[in-house]
Every structure is written in C-alpha cells, then in structure tokens.
Amino acid sequence: MKQTLIGLGLCALLAWGIWRQPPSSPGVQHREFFAMGTLMQISFADPVPAGLMNRIQTELRAFEQRWSPRGDGELAQLNRQLTQHAQAPLPPVLRPGFVASQQACRSSDGLFDPGMGALVKLWGFDDESHFRTTPPEPETIALALAQRGKLCRAELDAKLSVDVPGAYFDFGASAKGRAIDAIVALLRNNGVHNAIVNAGGDLKAIGQRADRLWRIGIRHPRPQDAQDILASLSVKDGEAVFSSGDYERFFISEGTRYHHIIDPRDGYPATTSQSATVVHTSAELADAAATALFVAGPQRAAEIMGRMGITHYLLVDAQGDTHTSPEMRARLDGLP
C-alpha cells in the first residue's frame, strides 16, 4: 500500500510537470545584423512584430549613407563642397544632428569635435581600408589641427558657414547614438515595450525584462580571466549606456599603443584614460559625452560632464583607478 501511494504520488508529480507551462516569459529573443560599421543586436522581451527587422535595417542603411563622410550621401556631398568653399547649403535632414553636435562641441569645451574629421582620417581610424601601423608625421598633424573648433564656431542656418574653406566633418563619435535613438523610437511606435538595442557595445533600453530591470555589465578595459566585468548597473526605461575605450581600435608602433580616440587639442590619441562610460536618456548625447569624458581624463571629468548635463559617468584613468559621479556610484554594483 505504501509503495503504491509513493508511486502514484510520483506519477502525479511527473504528469503535473509535463503539463505545466514554463516560468512566465523568462526568455529573450535576439536578432543580430551588421549595420553602422558594427554588429547590432536587438534583444526582445516582447514578441517581435512581423517585418519590423527588415524595416529597421532599411532605415539604418539610409542613415548610414546619409551620415557617412565618404561616398554619395548628404554629409559626403557637404564635405566635398566645404573643401572649396566656406559656405554650403546644409541639407535639412542633417541639420538636427549638426545642431546637437554643435551644442555638445561647445559644452564639452571642444573635447568632442566632429569638425576634426580630417585628423581622424589622417590617423586612419575612419575606415578599415585606411588603417595604418605607424603614426602620421607631426607636420601633417599640425596642419589638421587648424580645423579645430570649426563646428563650435559654425553658423547653422539654411547654410552652414565656417571661417575658412577646408572643413571635413565626421560624426563617428555621435552618429551611432543618433541612430540608436531613432531605432528605439521606431520600436516603440511599433508596439515594442521591452527591448535593448545594442550597437557594438553601446546600447539603449526600452522597458524592462519580465519582472526586473535590464541589467548591463560594463566590460573591464584590461580584463583578466577572473574579472572581465568592471561593474554592472540596472538601466531604466529609455536610458542609454555608452562606453569609449582604448582597447579595441589601435595599432602599436615601436612599443607605443596608438588608439582611435584623438585629443583635438594636440592631435594625438588621448593618454589619460583607459575607458569612459556615460548613462543618459539621449543616446546621441551619451555617445558624444563618452568621447569627451575619455579625452577630459580624471582632472576635468566632473567639470566637463557637468557642462554637458551628464550626471552618471564612470571613468577608468590611465593607471586603472576609477572615478565616478556620486549618482553613478550609487547605482553601480561590483565596483571595487
């Protein structure tokens, strides 16, 4: 009798397990595709609307062409006109991005400066095919530095006016943020209430995951086997997390590492930081601010972030020491 009861009990438990539904919505669907010069991943905690991924990729292709400094898009055409003239028509589709970047250029005291496109090109970090293994000659760097501050000082109306011809704009340090903002808006408009848009390690959250906030790990700029994550934080609906670092895009020449974040003040890679992370509701501003924070370094971090309206930031300086705003410190987990 006892064995029969045990057997029946186990059979009942087994039957219940078979018919039971899995825990409510623990899973997340990932979609990956190449765009904006990186691998993009959208993680959905909601069902993925039919046809939406194709529309997103179409939008991003158009965005990428529009904002590429090379090719036949609007920015490339504007750059070509500005090589010969100090004034050129500013396409309406570019104007909001120019205005936002000019504001960031001014508030960052010129540490974020898309007008230094010629300098980025000179260093070969603008395109895979231009990648170089030795630094440019100091004389050519000095010539490129003459472009400094052109966007900060430019007049932006129906026409863009700079002081002298020769401007070359490259929005590589803010266009990805602008694109993420646009994709998040597109997702929301199509009924997606819970997702993360991640473009090669820069991301923005929509809603949350099931019954908790999305949780983001900030990678260590000098990872060890035991610690590849520097800290983590839970992101709220509409928050973007952007990081800039010296650890991925660089070359080594005669024992010196030359990375892709160029200091507009001297024309060489900034040397006071290993990584910079910024949280803000505007991905475009977070993108620009992460670059400005990296260049600012620990000495000017609080000042520049304050000027840019950034309350949450984390900086790892060249020695590996961390610097955070009090607001960011309160939200980070695992930071030594």
Partner: protein, 118 residues
C-alpha cells in the same frame, strides 16, 4: 518492494530530474555557439575543443573553442578588433569580424547580465 517497483521509482526520479532541468532552471550558462557568415549559420557545442575556419568576403577567419568559451584566433581584417576582443563565454554575448561578416552568438542566458557595454 520488488525489483520492478525499484525500477519504476528510479525512472520516475530521473524523469522528474529532467523536468526540473528543463522547466525550473532558468538562465543556463552558454553551452553552444552559433557562428554566422554570409553562407549561413552553424552551431557548435562549447564543451568540445576545436578550431573552426569560416570563409567570408575578404578571406578565412579562424575561431577556437576551448574551456566552454570561443575566440577569434585570426582574421583577414586589418584592425583585428575581433581577435583583440578575446575569449567569450557569457550567454547572450556577441562578437564579430565586421569586415569579413563573421559573427558569433553564445546561446544561453547569462544569469547576471542582459547586455554588455564596451
């Protein structure tokens, strides 16, 4: 208890254990990697060490699986961003050689993170 009773109890115990594994254990660590190229996607278990060569538009990318992780060993791209990104072992992590259009996605949810900023 007869031998048949014991066998039945054993089978029921194993069955319940499997159900627990499937339904109650959320957020499993990565156990498989999906490697994608323009030619398609292939899946490999992370517990079996191996080297994999994948053809892309600009040449052959070599990946290595070892110790439940995957990394790019060599790629024909000039900047070598994929190679420098090192080992990837967390579920949900992605990495890519963008110029050669080769990407990896680790299947399995990381119990701690939903995404990574870098």
């Amino acid at each position: 208890m007869t031998r048949a009773d014991g066998l039945l109890l054993l089978l029921l115990g194993v069955g319940i254990g499997m159900l627990f594994r499937i339904y109650w254990t959320a957020n499993l660590p990565a156990q498989e990697v999906a490697i994608s190229s323009p030619a398609g996607t292939s899946h490999y278990p992370l517990h079996t060490p191996r080297r994999i060569q994948v053809n892309g538009p600009i040449g052959v990318t070599t990946l290595e699986i070892d110790n439940d992780a995957v990394r790019f060993v060599a790629s024909p791209c000039r900047q070598q961003i994929c190679v420098r990104s090192g080992w990837h072992r967390r579920g949900g992590a992605v990495a890519a050689c963008v110029p050669n259009r080769i990407s990896v996605l680790l299947h399995g949810e990381d119990p701690d993170y939903d995404g990574f900023s870098y």
